[in-house]
């Protein structure tokens, strides 16, 4: 019986348990429902939890541990010469055995007979069933595969039995535990609380895991390339070369990439901040509810466009347009139709990224401006100030810390943005100040270093993790600072 069927069985028992629990609670209550400590539905939930939770935990534990127990048992029966081989080779052999075991389950009885007659046919037989083998299996492998299948089957049966028993046992125990005085509601709620806690800790643990894995790879990188050469190097030239082929030492200077990232982010903010802020002021202070009702969702559609779409918008529309118009301008001024804006350039990437950021700036600022108490608006209007004076002199100063926080959050998005810059900014790692020339960013280089068939042991690939952790640290700092400012601002009105 497969795992999913067992799961379904347990859940079915759970539903039955719920109904039984509710029924029994109702019966115990007699004529007055208030004789019970909790409502019957909580007793149902209480029994259902007892029926499913231990069984599910058992299933999870079994599925995690059983394969490794079986594996070590099968490996124990390997011939001595295989056991003497290095661990990596043993792993390969065991991998082959699992393939054979998987294939043998697919064989028809007739095939099995042929196999029993001549072990050498196993490779052709299995590949006919869609299970390719890397080489001809060694003689000891067939019995080992048999053993593996046998053990796995037995483990599955045992698991099914144990899970169903646990479910039924839990059901019976909980049903007997039901009494009018039982605090079923409190217990059910405690389980729900545990579930909530579990869900939030998964998110946190994942973050920690990601950081740890990046840190691990990055330390690996820094063992090959000194940290100061990475952080303070001004030349980026990783020299693609296979690991161990010699002459592979490239130069991994972070500075040009960081400069490109910050420059493009700055240009993007230059476009996004005024437009986003003005639209937020309009939406929050001037727009009638009717205009707001359709204009705001419309503006936020921008936020829903995948960034890759912005990327090819930049690549196919904005870039060529800027290039052509620059050629026209220089033609008009100097008579020479040479374009001074490259199709891939800081300005192209910054402009398109700015468009992408507008809804972030405007919707965050809108929330903050709307949060300024109405009393302040009334106070200013009551003194004879116009709406515009009220916005300039009272609302914006009051909302400023929050808006700065919102802008910092937006900036951290700009720094981490990938697809637009990959398509629109170019790949040349250069340090220069001309916004019409291509530059590259940290994210572009991460993509470049990881796409290709390099091994994950060369500095050329591992540098991606060092870049990633740098970027992560940068955006984390920006976000923490932004949150700090926003929180400080919130305290003013509470």
């Amino acid at each position: 019986m497969s795992g999913s069927v067992v799961l379904l069985c347990v859940l079915a028992i759970g539903i039955v348990a719920f109904l039984l629990g509710r029924l029994r609670a109702n019966a115990l209550a007699g004529p007055k429902l208030s004789n019970l400590h909790s409502r019957p539905v909580y007793y149902g939930g209480f029994v259902a939890i007892w029926a499913t939770l231990p069984a599910l935990l058992l299933l999870a534990f079994w599925s995690i541990t059983a394969p490794s127990v079986i594996q070590s048992s099968v490996r124990g029966s390997f011939p001595a010469e295989v056991l003497a081989a290095p661990q990596a080779e043993q792993n390969l052999e065991f991998g082959m055995i699992t393939s054979i075991a998987r294939g043998m389950k697919l064989l028809s009885p007739a095939d099995a007979e042929t196999l029993a007659g001549d072990a050498a046919t196993v490779r052709t037989l299995l590949s006919a069933k869609g299970v390719p083998l890397a080489g001809d299996p060694k003689p000891y492998m067939l019995p080992a595969a048999d053993e593996l299948n046998r053990l796995t089957d037995r483990s599955n049966w045992l698991m099914t039995g144990a899970a169903v028993l646990a479910a039924l046992g839990g059901l019976v125990y909980a049903l007997r535990a039901i009494q009018p005085k039982l605090r079923a509601r409190n217990r059910v709620e405690r389980v729900v609380l545990g579930a909530l806690l579990g869900a939030s800790s998964i998110a946190i643990l994942t973050t920690i895991g990601i950081v740890a894995s990046m840190l691990g790879e990055a330390t690996h990188f820094f063992s090959m390339v000194p940290a100061h050469e990475f952080f303070f190097g001004t030349v980026w030239d990783p020299r693609f070369a296979a690991a161990g082929s010699g002459g592979s030492e490239g130069q991994f200077g972070l500075i040009p990439l960081l400069a490109g990232t910050l420059y493009i982010g700055f240009v993007a903010m230059l476009f996004a901040v005024p437009i986003g802020l003005f639209s937020a002021i309009y939406m929050a202070e001037y727009a009638s509810p009717r205009v707001r009702a359709f204009a705001k969702p419309l503006l936020e559609i921008l936020a829903g466009i995948p960034t890759i779409v912005y990327g090819f918008f930049a690549l196919t529309t904005v870039g060529p347009f800027l290039r052509d118009i620059s050629a026209q301008i220089s033609g008009l001024v100097t008579g020479d139709y040479a374009n001074f804006i490259q199709a891939q350039s800081v300005i192209t990437a910054g402009f398109v990224m700015g468009i992408m950021l507008i809804p972030y700036v405007s919707s965050l600022s809108d929330d903050i401006i709307t949060a300024v108490p109405r009393a302040l608006r009334d106070g200013s209007l009551g003194l004879g100030a116009t709406r515009s004076e009220t916005v300039k002199r009272v609302i914006l100063p009051a909302a400023l810390p929050g808006i700065v926080g919102a802008l910092l959050m937006t900036a951290s998005r700009a720094v981490g943005e990938t697809m637009i810059v990959v398509l629109a900014a170019g790949v040349a790692a250069r340090m220069q100040l001309n916004p019409f020339e291509p530059m590259t960013t940290v994210t572009v280089k991460i993509v470049n270093q990881l796409t290709g068939d390099l091994e994950f042991t060369s500095p050329q690939t591992l540098v991606a993790f060092a870049l990633g952790i740098t970027l992560f640290a940068l955006t984390l700092c920006l976000n923490i600072y932004a949150l700090y400012i926003v929180r400080k601002y919130r305290e003013q009105y509470e």
Partner: protein
């Protein structure tokens, strides 16, 4: 025929006499919030250099009427006002009237103290600045000092004018808001339950202040407290369910009201 002219003449005379002391007057004022009518044909006169108290149970329309006097209702989208309200001789709902100028002439103090998140000095200087009432620093200093003096706050805050206005106590904040309104030199000051968020001591100070302000300003105050209305006002208007029930001298109102509903309300039988 003769009788008719006589009463007509009497009426004209009476109106002339009262008009000479009238600062604002509302005629057939109706206010609608969307479809709902909040005020029904209110006729109410506000006399100059007088404190007029508006009383009545919650939702009776007294605050709504107060806010029509400087068109603060304009800030509510669904609100519509009909009828006529005169300030001196100007119809304040005339399309040619600049609402900004109107609100400079008819200032307002709100229920909850709402100092701007700026320094005490800047809170007071805000109005004069936007209306161009002062040009040099010295002129601003003078306005700030005299306004705070008038609001009885000068001695408490003169050493910390640059500190944020939000750092003052609730009562001080409310007096700061009154000083802020006074700084624009309005003709009328509207107060919407100015003491409802204050403790009794702060309330007493604000009430004393209202007494003093009466010499220079015309004051309209909405209050839930009968005692407060009796203490600070000379005229009282009683609202009920969107109608003006009675308007009278405060002394008469609290001793011998004309309307049964006023009597019931003052005696605490409803509301």
């Amino acid at each position: 025929m003769n009788m008719l002219t006589e009463t007509a003449v009497e009426k004209v005379l009476e109106r002339k006499m009262t008009n000479s002391a009238l600062k604002m007057s509302g005629t057939d004022v109706c206010v609608f919030y969307g479809e709902k009518q909040a005020l029904h044909n209110v006729n109410l006169n506000i006399r100059e250099n007088t404190v007029t108290a508006l009383i009545g149970p919650s939702g009776c329309g007294k605050s709504t009427f107060l806010r029509t006097l400087n068109r603060m209702n304009d800030t509510i989208d669904s609100c519509r006002v009909t009828g006529k309200i005169l300030l001196d001789t100007d119809d304040i709902y005339d399309p040619n009237i600049d609402v900004v100028e109107l609100r400079a002439r008819v200032g307002m103090v709100f229920q909850k103290p709402n100092p701007f998140p700026k320094s005490i000095y800047e809170n007071i200087a805000y109005g004069p600045r936007i209306h161009g009432l002062a040009r040099t620093r010295a002129e601003f200093d003078e306005i700030v000092e005299s306004s705070l003096q008038r609001a009885g706050l000068w001695n408490e805050v003169k050493d910390r004018l640059q500190e944020p206005g939000t750092g003052l106590s609730g009562g001080q904040q409310q007096r700061l808001c009154i000083a802020r309104a006074v700084a624009v030199s309005p003709e009328v000051i509207l107060m919407d339950e100015p003491c409802s968020a204050l403790d009794p001591i702060a309330t007493a100070k604000v009430e004393e202040l209202i007494h003093e302000l009466r010499a220079n300003f015309t004051i309209v105050i909405v209050t839930h407290s009968m005692q407060q209305a009796a203490r600070v006002s000379q005229r009282t208007a009683m609202f009920h369910m969107g109608y003006l029930v009675e308007e009278n001298d405060t002394d008469k109102m609290f001793t011998n009201p004309d309307d049964q509903r006023t009597q019931d309300y003052i005696m605490g039988r409803f509301g």
